[in-house]
């Protein structure tokens, strides 16, 4: 009573017991599933003769292998088709609701959960995907799990886990024009490091976070795992409740009023005790761009790549990254030529991301040497974007307008880089080979920055771009 963080409250509420191993048995309020991390899990269930414990607390979609251009079945990719067939069979056999490709609710798993009102404050949420942290934006404790753990949740709706510590990250001040949630989370990861969050859940707070929309909070929480934090969250508030109201799985009427009271009570207590606290000055954040081979290797767009004259523990990693990327130490990131521009992924593919990118793109043309695509995060986002005419803005500018899916974020589908191509990407990972070519290169940035880069043909400061426009 009192002095608890949201994490502690939610953890305590969902703890069934302490196991012989010392870990907690944690009930999972919502289990989202998709085609990549489930086939083996369901096979393991079938061979043990166990069923799914709570099919009505489980929800399925397809996203990773889905083509964004030609979705005709059977898919041209035989392996992808096998995975689709496996998930279809498994959902049918175990009675799990499934937004498949015949369903207008299909989309990226971390986009549709919130869209449908499945994701709610005070829940524990698990999914076989590390970007499950996205759902923490609603004040849930949400984290990624592996296939064997997916099996555990299917069988028992529970996980064996240790609780995390909590680091509060207070982002104060106000973001300048052209600076977005993506830049804030890239700043945090650069500052605290890709290992900084291991063993922690990140609680994002402060005036900048308070004034963020749900889409922006999702972008922040999405990349918690890139900072090592398995979970990241924002305390639920009126912004959260307003987003949830009217969605298919959100309570209504009197139940909604009662829900809001309970949801609000899940927020961290004012006197909550944190394991660590960090402050970030929101006023000072610039648009950021990653230059290397992990999401922590980013700089402000007006900055220069690290130089190696000063020896540090990171010199080896910096040297390897610069060498792989083919960049020169100390040179500016602005002006780096790009070959591909990708707006999409569970990080940045929601309606507000597309609106902002369209605002920048309107009336301009994609540079002739650039291949540009926009991949809405879900069929619902795509539909809403088309109602607003955003697709026409993108297409007139020379962007391809695609169907919903994970697309070029991780290239388990036909969308991938070729050879040494440099991609300006609104996704979350720039690891070697991530986008489908072992020698391909990824520059992570906000969707607005991707839009500006697509038009300029090179990395450019979106703030300058916006100024020269009007």
């Amino acid at each position: 009573m009192g002095k608890q963080t949201l994490f502690q409250k939610v953890w305590d509420l969902h703890t069934v017991r302490t196991l012989q191993t010392g870990q907690s048995q944690l009930f999972v309020g919502l289990h989202m599933i998709h085609e990549v991390t489930t086939p083996q899990a369901f096979d393991m269930l079938r061979s043990s003769g166990i069923g799914v414990a709570y099919p009505d607390r489980t929800y399925a979609t397809v996203d990773h292998v889905v083509p964004t251009l030609d979705q005709q079945r059977p898919f041209a990719d035989e392996l992808a088709e096998q995975m689709m067939v496996a998930l279809e069979r498994n959902c049918r056999e175990f009675s799990i609701p499934f937004s498949d490709l015949t369903n207008d609710r299909q989309g990226i798993v971390h986009v549709i959960g919130p869209e449908l009102g499945l994701t709610q404050p005070g829940m524990t949420i698990a999914c076989g995907d590390s970007h499950t942290s996205t759902h923490g934006a609603f004040g849930a404790v949400a984290f990624g799990i592996g296939t064997s753990q997916v099996r555990d949740v299917l069988a028992s709706q529970c996980l064996a886990m240790d609780p995390l510590k909590v680091r509060r990250i207070v982002v104060s001040g106000k973001l300048g024009p052209g600076v977005y949630a993506k830049d804030v989370i890239l700043e945090i990861i650069a500052k605290l490091g890709v290992r900084g969050g291991v063993g922690y859940a990140y609680e994002y707070a402060g005036s900048v976070v308070d004034s963020m929309s749900m889409d922006e909070r999702m972008t922040m929480c999405n990349m918690s795992i890139e900072g090592g934090a398995r979970a990241g969250y924002v305390n639920p508030d009126e912004v959260t409740f307003a987003y949830l109201e009217g969605r298919p799985f959100t309570p209504t009427g009197v139940a909604l009023e009662r829900a809001k009271v309970w949801w609000a009570s899940m927020a961290s207590d004012k006197d909550a005790e944190y394991d660590d606290e960090v402050e970030i000055d929101g006023n000072a954040i610039e648009p950021r761009v990653t230059w290397g081979i992990n999401p922590g290797q980013s700089i402000g767009v007006s900055g220069n790549l690290p130089d190696m004259t000063v020896e540090s523990p990171d010199t080896g990693a910096i040297s390897e990254a610069l060498s792989f990327m083919g960049f020169n130490e100390g040179s500016p990131i602005s002006g780096t030529k790009i070959d591909v521009a990708f707006i999409g992924s569970c990080t940045n593919s929601r309606l507000s991301d597309l609106r902002e990118a369209a605002r920048i793109v309107r009336g301009h043309q994609v540079a002739t040497h650039v291949r540009a695509l926009v991949v809405p995060g879900s069929r619902a986002v795509r539909r809403q974007a088309e109602e607003e005419g955003l697709h026409e803005i993108f297409q007139e500018a020379g962007f391809e307008w695609r169907g919903a899916g994970c697309s070029m974020c991780l290239a388990m589908n036909p969308d991938r880089l070729n050879e040494r191509e440099v991609c300006a990407s609104s996704s979350n990972r720039n690891f070697k080979g991530r986008q489908g070519s072992p020698t391909g290169r990824t520059l992570l940035m906000s969707p607005a920055m991707v839009a500006a880069a697509a038009i300029s043909g090179a990395v450019i400061d979106v703030r300058d771009f916006l100024m020269t426009r009007s």
Partner: protein, 206 residues
């Protein structure tokens, strides 16, 4: 189904030691996209993953340890900080295990990687950065050095020296008791699960 739920027997092997030679993987923050590229996740089983471990790194680095015959039969992997970062793909520890690795010693691991490894009986332990350097140098110097990784005594023994290891008590307990395959444990008192579930406002209805 209710009866089945409680009756599942935990049948995992007790793991108290791994013996064999070692393989050093130098570099911080080695992510799971490198350990097993995403194209190999397009599969409905884990079969054959061992052949593809570090496939893209091996193509671009001809002297990669996983391509070096001197390490071909290694069962203990030595790593630096934050090994297994990034994607939650269980395919990463599955690929390592199927290649032949039975234990990993690193300065630190990504949490999801550590959890996934434990769930499939791949024992992971940490050691200090100076001890990791000693181990890597020893292995690079003499690849056929036989080692004993002991979960029981929390040490790695190379014959020449014995180095202390850290394993969280939960992971250690799971390995030693053969309870690293958690499903049976989680199903043991299913009435308790139903009780917690039915008390949650969003389950019973607001």
């Amino acid at each position: 189904m209710e009866e089945k739920r409680g009756a599942l027997v935990v049948n995992a092997r007790r793991i108290d030691r791994v013996e064999g030679t070692a393989i050093p993987i130098r570099g911080k923050d080695i992510d799971t996209d490198r350990i097993i590229p995403a194209r190999f996740l397009k599969a409905i089983t884990f079969d054959g993953l061992g052949e593809h471990v570090f496939e893209d790194d091996r193509r671009t680095m001809p002297n990669h340890p996983f391509s070096n015959p001197a390490y071909a039969h290694a069962s203990i992997l030595i790593a630096n900080e934050n090994f297994g970062s990034g994607s939650s793909r269980e395919h990463a520890p599955q690929a390592l295990k199927r290649w032949g690795i039975g234990a990993c010693i690193g300065e630190s691991f990504s949490e999801i990687f550590l959890g996934n490894s434990t769930a499939i009986g791949l024992a992971c332990a940490t050691a200090s950065s100076s001890d990791i350097e000693v181990l890597m140098a020893a292995v690079e110097n003499m690849p056929d050095t036989k080692m004993v990784f002991s979960v029981n005594t929390l040490s790695i023994n190379t014959g020449d020296c014995s180095i202390g290891l850290s394993i969280t008590s939960a992971v250690r307990q799971s390995l030693l008791a053969g309870q690293w395959d958690a499903t049976g444990l989680l199903l043991e008192r299913f009435d308790d699960v139903r009780a917690v579930a039915s008390d949650l406002p969003y389950v019973k209805g607001f």
